[in-house]
Symmetry: C2
Subunit: 339 residues, 2 copies
């Protein structure tokens, strides 16, 4: 297996976010400054809401990918990587603001969502503002290729969200359908975040394709592990209550696999829970026991590992450097969130 | 007065949209095709919602400004004007989708809003998708200057919306505050739509500044006339119920001026109506009579005419051409919507 083979070559720590934190530390300080400055506005409500999310303890994985990918391709001077990383984080933040409105979520990372504090209206509009600011930063970098990658991602993410909205409550959603939604909603931004690295370093299509593949596979792996954590993690670890996806009627891979493996009576239970909203505590307990019976968390983790191996392989072609090791370690880190 | 002086030089029809319709007809056919194609998606809900708005009888004034401005500066070949015009219309459509969610509006141009048919969630997400598609088209044009103008406008529009949300329900809003909101929410896109014309024609800062000024003044004039129509127009004309602004608690210039001219008892009425939501039919009748007593529709029209004169003057510096005449006639058209 490729992952195992590559592992042997390395002596760095595995399954840790520390490598990428160390490699990107200097640039991330600049990214954080830029984020604070671009979230500013004479309209006070904007920084208030933006900072609520920005300072809420997210890992800033996506902008770190941009920085590490740029470094791994030899781009270290200038500020293009800083501006693009901040753009990526703003695109992500705007998506979260709109997502919470669409999902009617009350909690994110253990904190009240912006919409419960300031309302849906402000969340929609501040999301729009951050998206506009993201594009301003990208334009400032002056790379039409980077702009093209990120604007494509922006449309793909929204398209994925609409698709999920239309298909979300149907238990007939297939594994392939679900993976296509994850590909659009989550993996597209990971892929774009990583792909702009070689672009600003002046590299060609081969390097771009490798980073696109790396980011995409990592994003899918990351989301699948999130899905697992929602049924099995510990609330304090994730800053998220477990069972949230179930209670919000979000059909994720562990549920799809349990439905497909279930008998008629179990299928009827899932339809009632996800399509009709019979998703109280008792139903959640039943859901957990069915997921356990059919071992679908394990099956989901297995798929996450497969995508992780693809991500690992894609980044393994990079010349050896601390930044390459950081990109490799992040793959293991995402999966090792499962204990 | 400048308007009068310039009028003498021309023999074309005035106060009509026909001139710009004729001048832009060929390119607008391409814009409409592009709009339909870019509103498409394998996710059926997207074209369904987008076409509901796109085909709802809007005048497409903004994209026509882009086309006419490009033509007036000698850009006639190529497709940059078509792509930018479609981008401008998508930015506008995305704003309308989000606005209706924020304002909880049920009608637009006499038709049910997307949010009443498909829900707030889909309206937010399809707006995001159209914004992403707008940026893709801009990137496709390849002009970083045009991208900069339009992404700035995107952030300014959202900022204006948040400001309005924060300040909207306060009767202490001054005329200057209100004009600043109109400048951001409406005029910024008119200004950007006009300014990209000289940009793709390869003209310099003087031409850009003139078109920016033209678009901005026209946009403010346009919005002030809309404000007047909401208290005085005929429902069928505007495709909008008169009194909507009042019932939604939107503080517009006729109201601000009536409040400022009113005695203590009248001020108390306006506060109760706009801040506390006492805005039923009886209150609307009272509002109309106060607006009439203080002649604030006339005062608002006067300001609209002043901005119109500024727009007229800015476009008058263009070399004589059918496209210039179209830009000039649109100014009169916007104001002459008042009968």
């Amino acid at each position: 297996m490729v992952v195992a083979a590559n592992r042997v070559e390395r002596t760095e720590a595995r399954g840790t976010i520390d490598t990428i934190l160390a490699v990107t530390e200097r640039d991330m300080a600049r990214v954080n400054e830029l984020i604070l400055s671009m979230a500013g506005s004479r309209v006070e409500l904007i920084p208030e809401i933006a900072n609520h999310l920005i300072s809420s303890g997210g890992k800033r994985l996506r902008p770190m990918l941009t920085i590490a990918s740029a470094l791994a391709h030899g781009y270290g001077e200038g500020d293009a990587q800083v501006k693009l990383a901040a753009s990526v984080e703003f695109m992500h933040t705007a998506t979260l603001l709109h997502d919470d409105v669409v999902d009617e979520s009350d909690l994110r990372r253990g904190k009240s969502t912006a919409r419960t504090i300031w309302g849906n209206q402000a969340s929609v509009l501040v999301g729009d503002y951050l998206l506009g600011q993201a594009f301003k930063m990208m334009v400032d970098v002056g790379s039409l290729t980077a702009l093209s990658i990120l604007s494509d991602a922006s449309a793909i993410i929204a398209e994925g969200e609409v698709w999920q909205l239309a298909a979300a409550k149907r238990m007939t959603t297939s594994e392939a359908d679900y993976l296509a939604v994850v590909d659009a909603k989550t993996a597209a931004l990971f892929a774009a975040a990583a792909e702009v690295g070689p672009v600003i370093a002046g590299k060609g299509e081969a390097e771009r394709a490798a980073m696109r593949s790396y980011g995409r596979s990592l994003g899918i792996s990351f989301q699948l592990i999130d899905d697992v954590l929602d049924y099995g993690g510990i609330a304090a670890d994730l800053g998220k209550n477990t069972g949230d996806d179930f209670r919000e009627g979000k059909i994720t891979l562990p549920v799809i696999l349990a439905y497909q493996a279930g008998d008629e009576e179990e299928k009827a239970f899932w339809r009632a829970a996800m399509e009709e909203g019979e998703n109280g505590d008792e139903a959640l307990a039943r859901a957990r026991s069915l997921i356990e019976r059919h071992a679908t968390l394990e099956a989901t983790i297995e798929r996450a590992r497969d995508y992780g191996a693809q991500a690992f392989e894609a980044a393994s072609s990079l010349p050896a450097s601390p930044a390459r090791d950081a990109l490799l370690d992040v793959v293991e880190f995402c999966i090792s969130r499962i204990r």
